[in-house]
Symmetry: C2
Subunit: 199 residues, 2 copies
């Protein structure tokens, strides 16, 4: 728009590329960033650059860390015979929040997806297989998302691990706690009935 | 959380301060920013720093610009006898989008608000009065928001401009186009009836 200065327009264009940020949000954010005081602006740029510089993948589980290995892999009190396989570092955080699991993790950094052209070489599957060959692992829990891509990834890896003769399990499907039966989809309800347990 | 690296946590903390960005959105944005390629990251930091360096207020209308004066004040084809007074640079964009107004603007950079401690000295009111004293202005359109603060600001300025004996007008109130009468509030409907026009 002719009434907007070019540097401001460029900043809005940049922010529009961000996930879940539309044109209106990008505008609001740009004005906020312009109005920030000098210290806050510096703090933000520093945090941005520092995170990009220092954060990389843990050399064991491929979760994100600023050390050689991540705090979970370093924690000797955790069960070192179980690996929970997730697609994304955020899934590690979600499972940690549940405070139910005390084993190790392996982060794939994505799901297999022929549609989006994601092949096994692009995920940290090789690293997982290597760990199972090297470490004393008894169980691998497949905790990829309950989506088509997540299922494909879980079953691909579970086949790959067959030669090791270890237990490979999958997270239970069912109705979410606090959810409403009326709105549960057929497939979830079917899984929920199949997996019913004695009270 | 123990499973997250400190630099990542700091980046999330920074993003959480942004308007309308909650914890979950800040997390998602932080992971996106980490995963950006080097060129995109540089483009963003450059756009951010350039906008903050170069953007300042137009010396005439106080809208944001990277030049001494803004494109609207420079545009000699516009009606130079009318000033539309708005609270925010985004309001200039909104009115320009309507393509109905062809005069000049004046951006106050806020509304008077005793509640939030915003007094006349913090707004660009002095600059507006100076313009009306210096320039050949025939009409001032008060286009502050139809909120309590916007109303207070509009009536404060309109009183201030009385000595100049120019026309001071206010945007019309009424039902928004495409809106639903059923959901219109009483005050809007009352204004809409009062302001009815012949068909």
């Amino acid at each position: 728009m002719a009434c907007m200065a070019a540097p401001l327009e460029r900043l809005i264009e940049q922010l529009e590329k961000w996930p879940a940020i539309g044109h209106k949000s990008a505008q609001r954010l740009a004005f906020y960033l312009l109005g920030m005081n000098e210290k806050n602006a510096k703090d933000f740029v520093n945090a941005f650059c520092e995170a990009r510089e220092k954060i990389h993948e843990c050399s064991i589980c491929c979760n994100l860390t600023d050390k050689e290995t991540c705090p979970i892999c370093d924690d000797q009190t955790r069960d070192r015979h179980t690996i929970c396989v997730v697609a994304d570092p955020r899934d590690v955080m979600a499972i940690e929040r549940a405070r139910e699991y005390h084993g190790l993790y392996h982060v794939l950094h994505g799901n297999l997806s022929p549609m989006d052209g994601v092949s096994p070489e692009q995920l940290r599957i090789k690293e997982l297989v290597q760990r199972i060959a090297d470490e004393d692992i008894e169980e691998v829990i497949m905790a990829t998302n309950p989506t088509v891509d997540g299922e494909v990834t879980a079953s691909y890896i579970s086949k790959l691990l067959q030669p090791f003769e270890i237990k490979v399990t999958r997270l239970a499907y069912g109705i979410p706690v606090g959810g409403d039966l009326e709105y549960a989809d057929d497939v979830t309800l079917r899984h929920s009935l199949e997996g019913r347990s004695k009270m």
